[in-house]
């Protein structure tokens, strides 16, 4: 008869056996299952026992906010600059240095997952024949969202800057908008600490549009984005009647995000 041995001890010369379809065999099976399965479930649900922090991958939901602040340094003499932004108060401060460029942007979702993958940005700055662009500073504002663990909603910035000793006709930049994380993100909940505008566009004061103040306030934040383009291409040789062109492709890559584990 097929059966299971429930208990045996050689010193006592006793063996307890039961049939396969008995309650004792069922209890043995149940105990075996309970020995192995619940610890596995506990280990799975607690995301590991001893880890203090961990990482996950997520592609952020990034949308261009269509807010731009643009400064072009005009050379070669101890000249001035041209500026424009989508903030009316900033434009008002520029007086005769205001020059409105032609902008065209396009956001593209390449893999059809509902999240934008890159931004094509083109800016054409009309220039007088005597004006030459030797440097460009450009701030693009984005809304940046993460959903997988904690919901992070923030407004972030891409700062594009290039200066050249020779006047240029075109600047081509192509890079990633990377998340810069100085602290761990929460493992759950809603994080709207940084859902404030990077540039205070309603203020009439010049100090709120000073690039040093904007950058200083931005880098006080613990979670920021940074535009990294190791290879900007500065093209020279501009015809006198053509505009200065900035071509930028800003990609929104999948990010590795660190988060603390629940200390439960």
């Amino acid at each position: 008869m097929a059966g299971v041995e429930l208990f045996s001890h050689p010193a006592l010369h006793t063996r307890y056996r039961a049939g396969l379809c008995s309650a004792a065999a069922l209890a043995l099976l149940l105990i075996t299952v309970l020995t192995y399965v619940p610890p596995l479930l506990v280990a799975y649900r607690s995301h590991g026992f001893w880890l203090k922090q961990s990482t996950y991958l997520e592609q952020p939901t990034v949308r261009f906010r269509y807010e731009v602040l643009f400064v072009a340094t005009i050379g070669p003499g101890p000249g001035s600059f041209l500026a424009w932004s989508t903030f009316p108060a900033f434009n008002r401060l520029q007086e005769d240095r205001l020059r409105v460029p032609l902008l065209s942007t396009r956001e593209e979702d390449k893999n059809q997952d509902g999240k934008m993958d890159q931004l094509h940005f083109k800016l054409e700055l009309p220039l007088q024949p005597t004006e030459h662009v030797v440097g460009v500073q450009l701030i693009l504002l984005f809304s940046y969202q993460l959903y997988r663990m904690s919901t992070l909603v923030m407004q972030s910035m891409a700062f594009l800057q290039f200066f050249s000793p020779v006047p240029g006709s075109q600047l081509y930049m192509n890079g990633d908008l990377k998340l810069n994380q100085r602290q761990l993100l929460n493992h759950c909940g809603l994080d709207t600490r940084y859902n404030v505008s990077v540039v205070n566009g309603t203020s009439p004061f010049a100090s709120d549009y000073d690039l040093t103040n904007i950058i200083a306030a931005y880098w006080d934040r613990n979670v920021t984005t940074v535009f990294s383009d190791p290879n900007p291409v500065w093209m020279t040789g501009r015809a006198t009647d053509t505009p200065f062109i900035i071509n930028a492709t800003i990609r929104y890559p999948v990010e590795v995000i660190s988060y603390p584990l629940k200390t439960s």
Binding site: R63, F64, R65, Y66, E67, V71, T73, P78, S80, F81, A83, T86, P88, F90, N91, R92, L93, Q94, E95, R97, L103, G114, Q137, S143, P204, F205, A206, S207, Y209, D210, L211
Partner: protein
């Protein structure tokens, strides 16, 4: 057989998995389209069985791969290197070098998909196109063998906007755009909320100060160092700005921004939107010569306009300092401006202008503190003297908080200043020593330093004496060359709110021997002064200063029946 069974099993799993994968497209509230369930409930059972049999046989391709040709962009003309273009004939193909679209396939997740392969036979003469239509077999175990939901493999048709769902669709799909609204050049901040006509207006913190035409201008650098004149001054916002202005001697009379008139000609409104004007009065005029010497003009209330004088342009505004007096009700009652006027010569292309605005409440005399109680980083250190002949300690008082303006010692900013002194043989030792000491220590070097930012002159214990050290070489003439001030400070108070407190200040002067120089020889010696701030507080460390003890006593009747 087993493989077929396995594949059938896989199919069921996939059918279960597919709807969540594509859940984004068929939305619940979309316009009813002929979905499988709606069609199935309406048609007779035998037709339903037939449809099921057809769907099991594999999904029909949505687009015919043999006809799909993305490179065919010219109508009724042959596109170069486009092997699938039906307009091309054999003669055209003989000119091609490659096929720009070599393969057109269907959905790669299907187990079996049609593929149109285009290639060129370059061996043949003339080269000819080879077209093959094959069935590709997907080797993956998790391929789609059959599907009962065909829409899952193609884009769902979008919801048509109607008058009912337009707002909802707009909310769902709209995102940020470039604002095409014209700028509101009306700069009144409270124009947006129309309020009662009889409401009393007043200035609040940060509200731009209005003048008859626009705002009180406080030129300020924006994004570069050049001045922008459109920056308004905010009420109660003390500001100091410095910016660069391009000038030239030839047209210095025409540049508005270097003329005094530009800064005082508009009257300030006492409260916003009122007709009561406050004129800006000229409080003082300081004239700075070309080498930086400053003299205060007597009879200041005169307007001095820029003019050309001997290839110089004089009376150019180098600095403006506004002082606004206000009442507690937010009304400006007085506005005064102090000017620094200078001159430029032909070489100057640009000047630096500094602007300042400060606010004082009427009938008050604000005394600034450098911290309360501990010092704040970046603020000046209080220092002072003990007056001569004090009889009792209780009456000790210090000359008001004199700031050490020799260096402007700012807490925690270690700084060093250097200059060079050229010594000629004609210089005498004694006056030179005195001049250098005056240069290094200033006219009145303080004796005491306040240990806290808010130390009052009557609190004797709050004042730390400055210890002086002289390191000198024994010789007939030694001149001081460096002054080093070392400030030792510590963090004071609780760990949560540490306060900076100065505990010790030393001033050491190093001297060097001045040897008699031969006549008509020069020697240059560097003169250095430096301030060093040293934090001598010990860091907060975790641990037990006093170990915890067990304070447990047994009740007195613990051993009751026995003792």
């Amino acid at each position: 057989m087993a493989a077929a069974l396995l594949r059938r099993g896989v199919f069921f799993i996939l059918v279960l998995l597919l709807p969540p994968l594509w859940a984004a497209e068929p939305s619940v509230e979309s316009v009813p389209e002929p979905t499988a369930s709606a069609a199935g409930s309406a048609v007779p059972p035998e037709i339903r069985a037939a449809t099921r049999a057809r769907t099991r046989s594999g999904p029909a391709p949505v687009t015919d791969v043999a006809k799909l040709c993305v490179c065919d962009l010219l109508v009724a003309q042959c596109d170069v290197n486009c092997c699938c273009d039906p307009d091309c004939n054999a003669a055209d193909f003989s000119l091609f070098t490659t096929c720009s679209v070599p393969i057109v396939t269907g959905d790669s997740r299907l187990c079996s998909q049609k593929a149109a392969i285009y290639s060129l036979d370059v061996e043949a003469n003339p080269p000819e196109r080879i077209f093959k239509l094959i069935d590709q077999v997907n080797p993956s175990v998790f391929c789609i063998h059959a599907t009962n939901y065909k829409q899952a493999l193609s884009f769902s048709s979008p919801e048509m906007p109607t008058s009912e769902n337009f707002d909802q669709l707009l909310k769902r799909f709209s995102s940020a755009t470039f604002s095409a609204e014209p700028d509101s050049w009306n700069m009144n901040t409270d124009a947006q909320n129309p309020s009662d006509a009889n409401e009393t207006y007043r200035y609040e913190y940060g509200v731009p100060i209005q003048t008859a035409d626009a705002f009180l201008r406080l030129p300020s650098p924006v994004v570069s160092s050049w001045c922008s004149d459109a920056n308004p001054a905010g009420f109660l916002v003390n500001q100091a700005t410095k910016c660069t202005r391009s000038v030239s001697v030839e047209n210095c009379g025409n540049i508005q921004a270097v003329s005094m008139l530009f800064y005082i000609n508009s009257s300030i409104l006492a409260v916003p939107k009122s007709s009561q004007m406050v004129n800006i009065t000229v409080q003082s005029i300081v004239v700075q010569s070309l080498n930086g010497m400053r003299t205060l003009l007597n009879g200041s209330d005169v307007l001095r306009l820029p003019m050309i004088l001997d290839e110089l342009c004089i009376n150019i505004v180098l600095g403006v300092s506004y002082h606004i007096t206000y009442t507690g009700a937010g009304e400006i009652i007085e506005a005064a401006a102090s000017f620094v006027l200078g001159a430029i010569n032909k070489e100057a292309l640009s000047i630096q202008q500094s602007f300042e605005i400060s606010f004082t409440q009427v009938n008050t005399k604000p005394v600034p503190l450098s911290g309360n109680p501990g010092y704040v980083v970046g603020l000046p250190i209080g220092a002072g003297f003990r007056p001569q002949g004090y009889p009792f300690p209780i009456e000790i008082f210090f000359v008001a908080l004199v700031l050490v303006h020799l260096h402007k010692h700012f807490l925690a900013w270690t700084s060093i200043k250097r200059c060079k002194l050229r010594i000629t043989a004609a210089m005498k030792c004694k006056p030179l020593t005195q001049t250098l000491l005056d240069l290094l220590k200033g006219q009145s070097f303080p004796e005491y330093v306040a240990s806290f930012g808010n130390s009052q002159s009557q609190d004797v214990l709050d004042w730390v004496p400055i210890t002086h050290f002289h390191t000198s070489e024994q010789s007939s003439c030694h001149i001081p060359v460096s002054l080093e001030i070392e400030v030792k400070w510590t963090k004071y108070g609780s760990l949560v709110n540490p306060q900076a407190r100065i505990v010790n200040v030393t001033a050491s002067i190093t001297t060097t021997t001045l040897k008699q120089l031969p006549s008509r020889r020069e020697r240059t010696i560097p003169i250095t002064s430096s301030v060093v701030f040293t934090d001598i507080s010990s860091p907060a460390e975790p641990g037990y200063k006093a170990w915890p003890t067990i304070n447990a006593k047994l009740p007195f009747d613990f051993f009751f029946p026995f003792v």
